[in-house]
């Protein structure tokens, strides 16, 4: 078996690590105690989450009238936040599925957390359409269930129903993909747990994973097929989300470039959120040897690419709106009308955060800097939120009839629910970071010899990765004594 990898490639695992060191490094945050910063972050997130839940109860109890919606702008922050959260989710599946198909080894350090982010983000996304129903206890009506309303079925012609199917398939498949990958890592924690309660919990979570050769063979096949299924799935999800707009006949929404451009935007914002989360997590959990500068740089390169696609899409939208010469097109979200109208601040925020700021990543120094990456990732998160806000609020604020022109002002409830979902997201992520193996340790162990710094250096010197055999009676076979890493 060859563990050779070209020396041009930078190592993915830094330092002098054995398989056991990887185990130790990854369970440390779980077996150790949380520090003060974790508690501060957790309580702030919890407070935000509870505030958001309060606003949700107020909305459900009183009615959707407590939001800033009006008869012209019938959905605004709710759908903005929905699309924003779904978009953020996309990076997780991209990293775990698409990069698996492309055999990108660097995905292994970040796929677990990126997928966790996906699942938690899709939870937040799902909340908004359900609350917007006004009577969330009837949410099951979106499913094609036999019923007593005169056999009234759901409308399969509607993109909103496609969304129901796309999002629920996406959430459930991502969850299963994530959990299947977690089984061997839960088993590892289970087998070294000392406290009986902890052992019980992880035994339950690991589904009794034993790591037989046949299990691993199936595990790898299942991962590959799931990746093959999840890749078109993730592209379909945001395509269908974009069809919520693109299949309507509103100027500014009725646009054939929406599906590819929404997918690129989703990956763009998702990677930005991964950068935000991992930038902090690698420090807090002392996993700097696994989530390295190179991982950050690779993700920044994906951000430049997808950000570039988004920029070209903006330019196209702007040009086409102008080129039609139609007065109705002159108030789409990317048009002269938008740039000079009452929403100009939102228009320029979009350009600044989403188009200008990411261009800094062309500089190698900046895209390899943790600090800059963090700042730019926050900017992109804001920019992508503005993109959805602009598409929805600006387009709806001026329709075909000038007498219906109206603007959207969010109420404290709109703001509260949005902040609440951010809190909820971070509550879930912080709990995850304390209880789950945040790096797919079994997978990282498979690349240690080919991509670990220690083994790569030795390979360059011509020392094979296979250690010398030490006989049980302490009589070392003199094949290549230098191979034994630790005496």
């Amino acid at each position: 078996m060859s563990h050779y990898e070209s020396p041009i490639r930078e190592p993915l695992v830094l330092g002098d690590k054995t398989y056991h060191d990887i185990t130790e490094d990854i369970v440390k945050p779980i077996e150790g105690k949380a520090n003060k910063n974790w508690y501060i972050a957790f309580y702030i997130s919890l407070a935000a989450m509870l505030w958001g839940f309060g606003c949700i109860f107020y909305t459900v109890g009183t009615g959707i009238g407590v939001w800033g919606l009006n008869k012209n702008i019938g959905w605004a922050w709710d759908i903005t936040n929905f699309v924003w959260w779904v978009g953020i989710g996309h990076a997780g599946t991209l990293i775990s599925a698409v990069l698996l198909l492309f055999r990108q080894k660097w995905r292994m350090a970040i796929n677990r957390s990126a997928e966790a982010m996906t699942i938690f983000a899709v939870f937040q996304a799902g909340l908004f359409p359900i609350i917007h129903m006004g009577r969330p206890w009837n949410a099951y009506w979106v499913l094609p269930l036999p019923n007593q309303f005169g056999s009234l079925w759901v409308n399969f012609n509607s993109p909103l129903l496609w969304d129901v199917f796309a999002i629920s398939t996406y959430l459930s498949v991502s969850l299963v993909f994530w959990w299947t990958g977690l089984l061997p890592d839960f088993a590892m924690i289970r087998d070294r747990a000392v406290k009986p309660f902890q052992k019980k919990i992880y035994a339950l979570l690991s589904f009794g994973w034993s790591g037989r050769a046949k299990d691993w063979q199936r595990f790898e096949e299942v991962s590959l097929v799931l990746a093959g299924l999840a890749t078109p799935l993730v592209l379909s999800v945001h395509t269908i989300v974009s069809m919520d707009f693109a299949t309507s006949i509103n100027p500014g929404w009725h646009s054939t470039i929406f599906p590819p451009y929404f997918v690129a935007g989703a990956i763009f914002s998702g990677f930005a959120m991964v950068q935000t989360l991992l930038g902090i997590m690698r420090k807090v959990t002392n996993l700097e040897d696994y989530i390295t500068r190179m991982h950050i740089e690779y993700m920044n390169i994906v951000i430049i690419l997808t950000g570039g696609i988004v920029a070209v899409a903006y330019a196209t939208e702007f040009f086409i709106a102008w080129y039609t010469g139609s007065p109705y097109e002159n108030y789409t979200y990317l048009s002269v009308g938008a740039a000079t109208g009452p929403y100009a601040w939102a228009f320029y925020s979009l350009l600044f955060f989403n188009i200008l700021t990411p261009q800094l990543l062309w500089f190698k120094k900046i895209r390899r800097s943790f600090m800059w990456t963090f700042v730019i990732s926050i900017a992109i998160n804001i920019g992508m939120w503005f993109e959805r806000f602009d598409i929805i609020a600006i387009v709806l604020s001026k329709g075909h009839l000038p007498s219906t022109w109206w603007r959207f002002e969010p109420t404290f409830v709109d703001v509260g629910i949005f902040i609440g979902t951010i809190g909820f997201f971070f509550v879930l992520f912080l709990l995850y970071a304390r209880t789950f193996p945040v790096i797919a340790q079994a997978e990282v162990k498979t690349i240690l010899k080919s991509s670990g710094e220690f083994y790569k250096k030795r390979s360059e010197q011509g020392i094979p990765t296979k250690p010398a055999i030490v006989l049980l009676n302490n009589d070392t076979m003199e094949i290549n004594p230098d191979n034994n890493k630790k005496e």
Binding site: F156, W216, Q217, L229, M243, L472
Partner: protein
């Protein structure tokens, strides 16, 4: 009860393990099981395990999902309760089909992914509340465990396994 005895040979390196498997196989000993902390590429071939057919099941599950989606959209939208929605053809499934493509796609993926994973869990006997069966906790950390049934060849096997680089060899009663 000689036949219920097994040898547990521990290895601490994947490459040494792979060579050991080949050596044990070359001596025509039966390898009952190998427990690994992570997948070792080429191990299934070296052990002589048959390839898994899970991908094939996924294909058929996907076909089932597609067929289900076609049946469901046809029954609900065309047969049971046709409705005029924006003038879309409610009388013919094939003419209304473009609007059902997203549903057909999603259900294909849904069926293929979930049923394949359930099949995997059933075949590998993993589910909630299942007790783990790896004989030693080190096999989920950094040790590989090769289980070989013994008849009356303990010394011979021990010598062979020692030579291949086992770091610990135990003879244990199974069950």
């Amino acid at each position: 009860m000689e036949s219920s005895k097994v040898i547990h040979a521990f290895y601490n390196d994947d490459e040494i393990l792979l060579d050991a498997v080949k050596a044990v196989k070359a001596e025509h000993h039966q390898i009952e099981e190998i427990f690994c902390p992570f997948p070792v590429h080429g191990l299934d071939k070296a052990m002589g395990l048959a390839p898994t057919r899970l991908a094939i099941t996924a294909f058929f599950y996907g076909c089932t999902g597609l067929a289900f989606a076609i049946w469901m959209t046809n029954y609900m939208m065309i047969e049971d309760w046709p409705m005029d929605i924006g003038g879309k053809p409610s009388f013919s499934w094939i003419e209304n089909m473009p609007a059902f493509v997203p549903i057909m796609f999603e259900l294909t993926v849904f069926f293929a992914a979930h049923l394949m994973v359930i099949t995997f869990y059933m075949r590998s006997r993993i589910w909630p509340f299942k007790e783990a069966e790896n004989p030693d906790p080190r096999t989920t950390d950094d040790h590989f465990l090769m289980e070989i049934p013994v008849k009356d060849n303990v010394e011979e096997l021990t010598a062979l396994l020692t030579k291949t680089g086992a770091v610990e060899i135990n003879v244990v009663d199974k069950h």
